[in-house]
Subunit: 204 residues, 2 copies
Amino acid sequence: MGSSSPNKRRYHHGGLSEALVQAGIDILTEGGIGQFTLRECARRVGVSHAAPKNHFPTVDHLKSEIGARGFEQMVRELAVAADAAAGQSADSRFIAMGIAYVRFATANPAAYQMMFRDQQGFACTPRFLEAAEAAWDQLEEAVAAVIGLDRPDVEARAAHAFALVHGFASLIIDGRLPPDLATDQVIAQSLESLPDALRGVGTA
Amino acid sequence: MGSSSPNKRRYHHGGLSEALVQAGIDILTEGGIGQFTLRECARRVGVSHAAPKNHFPTVDHLKSEIGARGFEQMVRELAVAADAAAGQSADSRFIAMGIAYVRFATANPAAYQMMFRDQQGFACTPRFLEAAEAAWDQLEEAVAAVIGLDRPDVEARAAHAFALVHGFASLIIDGRLPPDLATDQVIAQSLESLPDALRGVGTA
DNA sequence: ACAAAATATTTACAGCGTCAATATTTATGT
DNA sequence: ACATAAATATTGACGCTGTAAATATTTTGT
């Protein structure tokens, strides 16, 4: 023992990669995506600007890792929202998750962007892929609970629900909805019709 | 007459700003957003790297102008799609527009990104604001045609529809839907339930 | 204790957006 | 027509970025 970082006390810094991820999240939280820089992350941690190379071959790998944490936290928050609505109907629980989804995205816009854009170079970390898939699984389960467990088109219906909440999240983050719009209300109202739509009421 | 550019034949280049916009669009079409650079635009047009400054104080202003062209073309394409479905029901026309929307976005992903992201510095050109508002008006009209012209909540319903198609567009552009998913079919199916949802069937 | 592996630093490079100073062309007023 | 002002383009520089190579330092394994 005796390093700067508490848990993993090995090598020079003792957990630089984790420290870089945390510094990146801090930068994103404080200054948004425009402030995010590999060199700034290194500066915050107190290492040279080339030190990150040993842990992340490219800045996109660091971004990917930050996106992974975003997915992990989002899954946690959605689970909490679902639990909080445990007593209610499946539809209500589903709607509560949708609201929590948009709430998470708008509360952590920079992290959300790391989860969905900005890495079309696709330097996806294994952890990112796992976390993203876990989020997708959570979505599919939620959809299945609403449309019935034996439906063959869960994937397609999940994509439908995904598009709606992701659309709201993206539009709000980018400020592309009318400023006078009561966003929360609009989202809640839009989500209300979603379970029926997913079930295909009136479509056979 | 006697300049390099055909129409506006004045000053040194004779329409540099328009040429820069076109060069930018070309770069985006060919190489995507990662290749887009103010200096590369200048290079293509054959002017020095600082020449654009006289027309666009900042690279974001050029991006904004490119986004404006994106909105303008999109409005045109949606109008064409609506006309092509002129004989059908209002719902069918609306769905056709939604499909055309996603089609435009996925066919011009880089332009679409210039329309919706990447300028949170908000160096919005007047032309951008006008074009974006025209697109919004088109959306509201389409929604009004489906839910009824005298509804007070057109804006909220338009946001609902907007979120759905924008969500699909964004997810496809960023490659965030399962690769095996029959996207076109999923979108068509999701859009089918949208008119009823907008009308608030079963919600009073 | 020693060799090997892992980790950090230093230095360098090319590219970027932006700015200031300068040059050149076009437009304008008389 | 000509001088002058305005508009437009060039050159060179600055600080920033991500990345790479060479070097130094620390930790690990035996």
